[in-house]
């Protein structure tokens, strides 16, 4: 462990983005110290390590910071190439495909999910939910093409795209619970529904995936806080 250089991760248990590097490190069998941030107050270490965005997660490897969740996941893959499975596929076209869908998830699909909570009124809410469902349908299609019958987007083992999407499952379930809808519907997206179970059961994932109930309680807490006092985040 010492020869790899000290590995620390600044994060918080509810954050889906923090989960991503945790899974990557678990896949590579890299031990790390988890430095949990307190909600509502950013530590000096975080502010020093990520002065540009002041956000978690931040990986500190031998005191050198790496920021942005998917940048960190790729870094972990590059920095520990001989440990554990490859996180990104080996073929350049497959890598491009994985990166494309990961970017789609972060730039389009995840914002559509947070859009549900922001939607005012029944019509807007339904439109927001439809958008999320449409995105899932696209991802179902992508899963079929990319996995080629194997259990994960990454093939036999959890890979980059599994991590990108899988980490959002907790919040997806909270959204389903709070809105009384089923988005990851086995009837509509059977491939993804089964994939989600496999992902959550994976050894690299199960220790860091928060329970839906605990997340839902946390969600209620932050929503109450934002409604009570319009303070900057």
């Amino acid at each position: 462990m010492a020869k790899d250089g000290d590995v620390k991760l600044i994060g918080a248990w509810p954050s889906p983005f923090v989960m991503r590097p945790r899974i990557a490190l678990n896949l590579k069998g890299v031990e790390y110290e988890f430095l949990e941030e307190k909600f509502g107050a950013k530590s000096d270490l975080l502010l020093r390590s990520n002065p540009v965005h002041k956000k978690i997660p931040v990986l500190l490897h031998a005191d050198r910071p790496v920021c942005e969740s998917l940048v960190i996941v790729q870094y972990v893959d590059d920095a520990w190439p001989s440990s554990g499975p490859s996180i990104l596929p080996s073929d350049p076209y497959d890598r491009a495909t994985a990166r494309f869908w990961a970017a789609y998830i972060d730039e389009k699909w995840f914002p559509s999910m947070t859009g549900i909570a922001k939607a005012q009124g029944e019509e807007a809410k339904k439109a927001a939910l439809d958008q999320v469902a449409e995105g899932l349908s696209l991802l179902e299609d992508a899963f079929g093409k990319i996995s080629k019958g194997k259990p994960f987007f990454g093939g036999d083992t959890v890979g980059f795209l599994d991590i990108a999407l899988g980490c959002l499952l907790g919040w997806l379930r909270v959204t389903e619970k709070m809105n009384g809808v089923k988005l990851l519907d086995e009837a509509k997206v059977p491939g993804l529904a089964k994939w989600a179970e496999r992902f959550c059961a994976d050894d690299a994932v199960k220790g860091v995936m928060p329970e839906t109930d605990k997340l839902a309680e946390f969600a209620k807490l932050i929503m109450a806080k934002f409604k009570a006092a319009p303070s900057p985040q």
Partner: protein, 224 residues
């Protein structure tokens, strides 16, 4: 062995320019298919059904979209003149700054270009803050990539063009050589580098296009 390599792009897109530079730096032969800015052809809709946008690189029948993703694909497929650094931490930093460029710098600069008055002042102030970070990244280096042009230089390359057009079409001074000496020097070094210089869209067509874009934006605002 004939390799099919086509780049679908518009004549003015800064995103497409990144791919053009990457292919030229690596000395790769390819065919350009120019797309209309307003109307995307059926081909583009087929190859990029999610976003229906260009640039799209078609390599032996397989499409790749999103300029930064195309850059990494090109770098991984053709190993000569590597664009991304070898060191994992340096690679991570390059990817980090590339995203910063697209998400923050481009946004604030465009807002500065399209707006007026107080909104423009605020956007310019924000742009300066972002540019300060890029200035620091250039410390001790001729290019963002070190001694030669790399991924990050190509990614920021649009800055050289937009800043020039911005400063020409308005009274704005975006990159002051006293405040941003390294960035100022980089703009010149990068713009004048042989491969880069050859590929700029025609300046005399770009300026009217930008001016028209700004006028359209402002007229839309005033009519609402």
């Amino acid at each position: 062995m004939a390799e099919e390599l086509k780049l679908f792009r518009t004549w003015s897109s800064p995103y497409a320019l990144r791919v053009v530079w990457a292919l030229r730096l690596k000395g790769i032969q390819y065919e350009t298919v120019l797309e209309d800015v307003a109307e995307k052809s059926d081909i583009v809709r087929r190859y990029n059904p999610v976003y229906k946008k260009v640039p799209v690189l078609l390599h032996n029948g397989r499409p790749i979209s999103e300029s930064l993703i195309i850059l990494e694909y090109v770098d991984e497929t053709w190993k000569q003149h590597p664009l991304l650094p070898q060191d994992p931490h340096a690679r991570a930093m390059a990817r980090f700054w590339a995203r910063f460029g697209d998400d923050k710098v481009m946004q604030s600069m465009w807002t500065a270009f399209l707006s007026e008055g107080k909104e423009q002042e605020a956007a310019l102030a924000e742009t300066s803050e972002h540019l300060q970070k890029l200035e620091e990244e250039l410390r001790g280096k001729k290019f963002f990539g070190g001694d030669s042009i790399g991924y990050l230089d190509i990614t920021f390359g649009w800055l050289a063009n937009l800043i020039r057009v911005l400063e020409e079409t308005s009274s704005l001074k975006v990159v002051d050589c006293e405040r941003f000496p390294l960035l100022f020097a980089w703009l010149k070094e990068f713009s004048d580098a042989p491969v880069i210089k050859d590929c700029w869209p025609p300046h005399d067509q770009l300026v009217p296009k930008f001016v028209a874009l700004r006028q359209l934006h402002r007229s839309r605002l005033s009519s609402t």
